[in-house]
Symmetry: C2
Subunit: 592 residues, 2 copies
């Protein structure tokens, strides 16, 4: 099984050509950012990914995690050492607040680095991913005192963070959440059980800082009565050292399809005197605080789809170049299977989906940076809407791509793909969680259609379509036939997207089932058209470079494949949306 190699040239291309690194570097605080700096950071991260994390991926999958009798979780051999190297080198602190030990780099630069961790070892990478979400929620919502006590150790990575939302009866719907909080002097006591707590307990960090949604006794019912609490395993002293052990513990870890190296914990709070919790933000406003952490977490979960796709592609490509079977068309003797058109179709689908989803994900993350830092309020507002619009697209579309590409990777291997030792099957197993966690893709689809499209009457979508049309115009202006062909393909897709948006705005008014019936197809259509938009951006950039350069030449070929083979998916989605809600709502419940 080959080790993962970070696709540095592709990553640098996206940073420089897709999301305008120069514009990022012009933002206050990012003045040191340059293509060279970015490239050197990526190169260093790639070494850790290849040399340390990747070799632990298969072994971590086999070993899994175990709960000891004393409620401690043993992570797979090597994970702890790898994490030590990660924190020692400061990799966990890239994009965080320098006031608390962060390095203050753009989110968009942390993203390719994170892509590497998840490609190299997704189970391991979930630990820093969840920590990032908790850190962001605290940066935005916590009191200075809480920040001072907890953030430095979380940003350094010595302590990890978790998100505690789900309970057995409360999954996608938080309204029925039961974990309760009671006031107790300057803090609170937390009582309840949470499930699916990723890295909720482990032997890799010195402390686990849980962010827990719970209900105060006098809160209103439903989601408006939920508050957010910081509930640490060990309560931090004023100087940030470890104090008393809190009344919380792991009850069990789940036996899962994939990410075996990542402990998914059932956590119990307050079985004895009550777990001490500290309020984050205001009482009863917990869900808003949690969303400040969930939005970026959704982007990085989308990124995990890119990661696993990249890794699956690398393994399948290596196999296809090595494996000899059959005489391909135009050949006279048995050769490697990459010569067969249908194997090429699979590999190119994997690669085109990976490149397109990477570009869309990075561009969305850069939008978060512009939203946070740009001096012009109008630009900030534009990127506020843009990043909000793209968040469900990145989460939803890129996480559908992860399992699709991983499954193609299995297929390229033939019978070997079904054998666990090959490694391709693990990527599929690992990837299958992505469309589910951090808000199922059904939830993402509802977010896209309701809050990101209907709520602003399509304004953010219109703005995106305007940008897409500008790119189409630029492609046409190059005068190059192959770019004009792609521009024509994209133009049809964008026109269809605009029609579907109008259809959603109008028909949802007269048919209460329309939005929900259209939502998933709308999400996938938006994703595939966004992918085409970025492939056209790539093509324009590549066409402007030296045509004898094989890297840029190949970008054009992959983009053409995308337009021919991937983009036409919008036709099916549009047709399904246009059929309305009748055939979705028609079957009586008892007939299922």
């Amino acid at each position: 099984m080959a080790d993962y190699l970070a696709p540095l040239e592709d990553m640098n291309f996206v940073l420089n050509e897709h999301l305008d690194l120069a514009a990022l570097a012009a933002l206050p605080g990012y003045e040191d950012l340059s293509p060279d700096l970015a490239a050197s950071i990526l190169e260093e991260a790639g070494k850790l990914a290849t040399n340390v994390l990747s070799p632990l991926n298969a072994s971590g999958d086999r070993a899994g995690v175990k709960v000891h009798g004393d409620a401690e979780v043993a992570t797979p051999p090597g994970f702890r050492d790898a994490y030590q190297q990660f924190t020692d080198a400061g990799w966990g602190s890239l994009q965080f607040d320098p006031d608390y030990g962060g390095q203050g780099l753009p989110f968009a630069l942390a993203i390719p680095v994170q892509e590497m961790w998840h490609a190299a070892n997704m189970a391991w990478g979930l630990c820093p991913l969840l920590s990032q979400g908790a850190i962001e929620a605290l940066e935005v919502n916590a009191s200075d005192e809480l920040k001072t006590r907890y953030l430095p150790n979380m940003i350094s990575g010595r302590w990890n963070g978790t998100m505690n939302l789900t309970e057995p009866q409360a999954g996608s719907d938080m309204a029925t959440l039961r974990t309760r909080a009671e006031r107790d002097g300057d803090h609170y006591r937390i009582y309840g059980q949470k499930i699916y707590i990723t890295w909720g307990e482990n032997d890799m960090t010195d402390n686990v800082v849980h962010l827990v949604l719970a209900r105060l006794p006098d809160g209103p019912p439903g989601v408006k009565g939920i508050s957010l609490f910081l509930v640490p395993k060990f309560i931090a002293n004023e100087d940030g050292t470890l104090g008393a052990r809190n009344d919380l513990q792991v009850l069990s870890v789940e036996h899962k399809l994939g990410v075996h190296g990542s402990p998914t914990c059932v956590m119990s709070y307050g079985e004895n005197e009550g777990a001490i919790g500290f309020l984050v933000g205001q009482e009863h406003r917990g869900l808003a605080c949690m969303f400040s952490m969930m939005n970026n977490a959704r982007l990085t979960v989308g990124l995990q789809g890119v990661s696993i796709a990249e890794r699956a592609y690398q393994l399948a490509r290596d196999h296809a170049l090595e494996r000899k079977q059959g005489v391909a068309p135009g050949e006279t003797e048995i050769g490697n299977i990459v010569k067969h058109p249908d194997v090429r179709r699979m590999l190119l689908t994997m690669r085109a989906l990976t490149e397109a989803s990477r570009a869309v994900a990075y561009v969305a993350c850069a939008s978060v940076d512009f939203r946070n830092k740009h001096p012009d309020p109008a630009v900030r507002a534009l990127h506020d809407a843009r990043s909000a619009l793209l968040t469900p697209v990145v989460k939803g579309w890129c996480t559908e791509i992860g399992p699709e590409v991983a499954s193609l990777g299995v297929q390229v291997h033939g019978g070997m793909g079904f054998i666990e030792e090959t490694g391709a099957a693990q990527y599929l197993r690992d990837a299958r969680i992505l469309p589910i966690y951090e808000g199922t893709n059904g939830i993402q689809a509802m977010d896209l259609v309701e809050r990101k499209t209907r709520l602003d009457k399509g304004a953010a979508v219109d703005s995106l379509i305007t940008d897409m049309r500008a790119v189409i115009a630029s492609a046409n202006e190059t005068g190059q036939p192959e770019l004009q062909t792609m521009a024509g393909q994209m133009n049809e897709a964008v026109t269809a997207l605009e029609q579907i948006k109008t259809r959603i705005l109008t028909d949802s008014e007269s048919d209460i089932y329309f939005a929900g019936s259209a939502s998933f197809n709308y999400l996938m259509m938006m994703g595939v058209v966004c992918g085409g938009w970025q492939m056209l951006v790539a093509s324009i950039a590549a066409a402007g470079r030296d045509a004898s350069n094989s890297f840029t030449r190949n970008k054009l070929i992959i983009a053409a494949f995308y337009m021919d083979h991937i983009l036409p998916r919008y036709l099916t989605h549009a047709s399904a949306i246009e059929s309305g809600s009748d055939s979705i709502m028609g079957l009586p419940e008892e007939a299922f």
Copy 2:
């Protein structure tokens, strides 16, 4: 985890309305066949599936198979007893030759019964599936003496059969096969190693009858020098009792993604004095003999896709009816998730794909019966071409549906879907082998485009399209608006299919890469249009029944959903095919 229940009403509907059971009963030898007989056979089979096989599915997955030190394979607890009940009741012998103990029933009737075995327990079901293939190859190709010695015990199920094709260097391409055979009096000696031998060794049957492809020293190179041999674990005496132990053994079993209860063996032949083998058919004509077993095996592997889809649907539906989350559109309080349009979309996609693929698979199998038994040579010829055309469609399309539906089943469960105890994940793991084995779907696609389309200049496809148009005309003649709508949708799809067929016939002549570039999309397009054809057949039958009957009413709703949401996939496939081979062949090999 709910147990599987055979969908008897659906199965009987397909037998009676889709494939014309009355016409089957008019074939010589099938005179006893009636709707009542078929229904009672299905009902009995359903009991074994539900009560005996289904409860062993999850436990078999967990236990897996093990090789003992003495090269014996231990199957999961309960498998052997279940198999005993299966053979005692004569379930393995339904469609086989009465001269050797079979019951002489149509293949089309054995098919719903087999669907149940695979739905209830796919790992277990692989044992009779492979035996069926071996029996068919012997029925057609073996000498009377071999048949007399081996068939009765194989048909009864006391001995199981296997297919030995693959070697490490010879997978999809048999030309490089190395296992060798040497003449030794009235028999042969076999030497070599075979991999991926399903049920190659087990403790469930008394003997394993291997059909082995091997090369005689004087055979021509490539696939024309391959012969087929019967190589039993124990050599049968003249009276069919067990004789000497042969020189073959299992070396190891694979650690696979799924079907853990099914031993996938590495087999070694002739490590000592040479394994005794008996020629089946003629020397150097082994591949043709093997294909006589592989064609029906491909149909039944396609059927496994239907099976796993049905089971995944049942589990997801039960969950969706039970699980309460969120307030759906038009509702005032929290209800079960089946009320949400997007959950309906997933469940209806699962159900529509399952029903359509079931009908296509059964109809293809009935074509095999008509080909074998019909007194009119013209009808036999038509069904010879039709069954040959539909074989790669059933294998390719239905096995893509299996994992797709199983994956949707995981998604409907949300976080629980990723937890192994839920059971949904096992169906996905099990289903993932289907697009790979018995000829990868890439191979099926090449078979469809080359041998089943180009070789007869599209004649078999034209005949199929003519039949589809007749069904469209019938739907229009009902005068019922909903049927006419569906007929209109199908008409567009069939027109597109005809255009694509023409495009393939013409462009493949001028572009050696065209057929291979188009093949997979062509296979999927053919599958989805065939599914629409059968959904229209179902609709006409349903519309002709009592409209107040909820079963037939629901058939129309599912068919409408298929036309709205599934059939439009042809648009994407057609668009990709029309783009030609340029973007598939353009990327230089070193650029992958």
